[in-house]
């Protein structure tokens, strides 16, 4: 590279905050794309490839290389050159685009989560990707790539500013110390995956469907075309999940919850306090004997949802209590079931439903074999709806739906109609008053 490193690439415009550039390896991150296109084409049509290759002479190859490589390099260099970012007191500004200029201003107090991820190659190169989850932000608004140390420093600075530290001291606050809450041992993770239905389902499909197709059609291409995606899915469901969720660590720090995981691709997420919209505690059938649960978390604007891949129920409850302060996970016995006549609307499965309303959360459970308990803090409820179909009306039943900001709706199904009406108005009242003792957006202020 002809330019100095990112740390030195600070250019001071008159009357503006200093702007920074991304790490100089950034242009290389899409270097694999043309190769992937070529390989894809070769796999797709092997005969044609053979013929084309035999026609290629050394001269044409050299000419093509002489054109394509500098063009790609120039494009990569220019996109990198024209991407700047800066941190002001209230915003992260990203300025990018070669032909179409694009400027994104991301408000720091609206940050829902900060992720620092390191794909395998980025780990080798010592760089990391930094992404801010903000409601309504694009995938484009990630900073890829930054130097590893710089990414951590920037995350600490962004969180400090978002927390409300004074701008002058935000630099020096540094990374808040984290206290480990939970670490998932690899053995437990492996056993939990073995005890998951989805793993076996995808493996079974990958092993059974191709031979059946072979017997039916005897065409190699049909079998390959179905076997490859099925094998891919089976791999993603078993090995992929193990690799992705390896060494899952949940920590607690003043600037939020830290989630670190991954064997090859490491990822470090930080969820600031008070950002969880819903928390779900999922208990697959085969985990029940061991008392294990999986905890999922919904944060507005974030697509990652796992908080704890597997943990004993008490440990998971302790983590949930950290995410939603002042919340105790309601016991299974304390959930109130729908009335017996709900069986007329939904035979057998009605037994799986249940709700509980505590001082801090609205909790609804569903599922008979794979139980899932969803918790919504009252302060996070956006709207409440009561719905009733004709058959439900006949049996004086109704559903109550609670909408949250992460695009998730928690439903209390098949409640008694009178109780549901009470629940509707009571929940609206609770969600309104629940706001009063909620933390401010700037949690340190």
């Amino acid at each position: 590279m002809t330019t100095p490193g990112a740390d030195d690439g600070v250019s001071r415009l008159p009357g503006a905050v200093p702007e920074r550039r991304l790490h100089p390896v950034t242009p290389l991150r899409r270097a694999w794309a043309p190769i992937a296109v070529l390989v894809g084409w070769a796999v797709h049509d092997p005969d044609q490839t053979q013929r084309q290759l035999s026609r290629l002479t050394t001269t044409t190859l050299l000419v093509a290389l002489a054109v394509i490589v500098p063009a790609a390099a120039l494009y990569g260099f220019l996109t990198w050159w024209f991407t700047h970012f800066s941190v002001t007191d209230t915003e992260l500004r990203i300025r990018t685009g070669l032909l179409f200029r694009r400027t994104a201003h991301i408000r720091l107090e609206r940050i829902q989560a900060v992720d620092v991820t390191q794909p395998l190659l980025a780990r080798v190169a010592g760089v990391a990707k930094l992404r801010l989850d903000v409601v309504g932000a694009d995938k484009k608004d990630e900073l890829a790539f930054l130097g590893e140390r710089e990414a951590r420093a920037l995350r600490a600075e962004l969180l400090a500013r978002a927390a409300g530290f004074a701008p002058e001291t935000a630099h020096e606050v540094g990374e808040a110390p984290a206290r480990e809450l939970l670490r998932v041992p690899p053995r437990v993770l492996a056993v939990s995956l073995v005890l998951t239905g989805a793993t076996w389902g995808s493996l079974l499909a990958a092993l059974v469907v191709p031979p059946v197709l072979w017997l039916a059609t005897e065409s190699v291409w049909t079998v390959l075309a179905t076997a490859l995606p099925l094998l891919g899915a089976a791999g993603a469901a078993s090995v992929g999940r193990f690799v992705g969720e390896y060494d899952w660590t949940v920590g607690e720090s003043p600037d939020g919850l830290r989630i670190d995981h991954g064997l090859l691709d490491r990822s470090h997420e930080t969820v600031p306090p008070g950002r969880a919209q819903t928390v779900r505690i999922v208990e697959p059938l085969l985990w029940r004997r061991r008392g294990w649960v999986r905890v999922e978390l919904d944060v507005a604007g974030s697509d990652n949802s796992v908080l704890v891949p597997v943990a004993p129920r008490e440990v998971a409850a302790a983590v949930v209590a950290r995410v939603l302060p002042g919340v105790t996970v309601p016991e299974t016995a304390s959930l109130s079931r729908p009335p017996r006549r709900a069986g007329r609307c939904l035979p057998v499965w009605w037994r799986g439903y249940g709700i509980a309303v505590t001082g801090a959360v609205f909790a609804a459970r569903h599922g008979l074999l794979r139980r899932s308990l969803a918790l919504v803090p009252h302060a996070k409820v956006q709207s409440v709806r009561l719905t009733q179909g004709p058959w439900q009306r006949l049996w004086r039943l109704a559903d109550v739906r609670v909408d949250t900001g992460a695009g998730r709706t928690v439903t209390a199904r098949l409640r008694d109609a009178g109780e549901a009406a009470e629940l509707l108005h009571g929940q609206a009242e609770r969600s309104r008053t629940g706001r009063r003792d909620a933390r401010p957006d700037r949690w340190m202020a």
């Binding site: 609206r110 829902q112 409601v135 919209q277 507005a300 302060a379 996070k380 409820v381 956006q382 709207s383 409440v384 709806r385 009561l386 719905t387 009733q388 179909g389 004709p390 009306r393 739906r401 909408d403 949250t404 900001g405 695009g407 709706t409 009178g418 009406a421 009470e422 509707l424 108005h425 929940q427 609206a428 009242e429 969600s431 309104r432 706001r435 909620a438 957006d441």
Partner: protein
């Protein structure tokens, strides 16, 4: 402003709710929907009557009765559906209740409103109607009040925005 008359029509007191002041929709929406129904099904009846009648035989023109029956049924349904729509502005939240067979009642606290929208299409404008739509941070929140008088829609928008600002809570 048809609010008073419609309010009387829509304000069928309900036992369970402790007396929120329900407001119904003005009759303009019903008129518009019924006219659209009559126009479209009338055209369909014409086509269903004329085509078989001319091509096969006069007796086959009886097909025209199907759309006419549908129109009569739809006339009644639209009326029932229109009567079921109502809303109430309470001190801290907005209630919207609708539906005959599939009933739905929505409560949106004012503090959660992100955006209040007044929309009006060409047909609606011709009938002097406008819809008010409320958006919260949850995409599932489906709070729309259709067929309002434009003045009432604007009053509602301004009032909701004002209340929303006063109680703003966001995510």
């Amino acid at each position: 402003m048809g609010q008073g008359a419609a309010g009387a029509a829509g304000a069928v007191a309900r036992g369970a709710a402790d007396g929120p002041e329900w407001t119904g929709l003005p009759p303009g929406l019903l008129r518009m929907r019924r006219m659209l129904l009559v126009v479209w099904l009338g055209l369909l009846a014409l086509a269903a009557g004329l085509l078989p009648g001319l091509l096969v035989g006069p007796a086959w023109a009886a097909f025209a009765l199907l759309p006419l029956a549908a129109a009569a049924w739809g006339w009644v349904l639209l009326g029932r559906n229109w009567r079921s729509w109502r809303y109430a502005e309470r001190a801290d939240d907005l209630l919207i209740s609708r539906g005959v067979l599939w009933r739905e009642e929505t409560v949106v606290p004012y503090g959660r409103m992100q955006l209040v929208e007044v929309t009006s299409g060409p047909v609606e404008r011709h009938f002097g109607l406008a819809s008010v739509q409320l958006h919260t941070a949850a995409a599932a929140t489906d709070a729309t009040i259709p067929g309002l008088d434009p003045a009432e829609a604007e009053r509602l928008r301004d009032r909701l925005t004002e209340l929303g600002e006063a109680r703003s809570a966001g995510l």
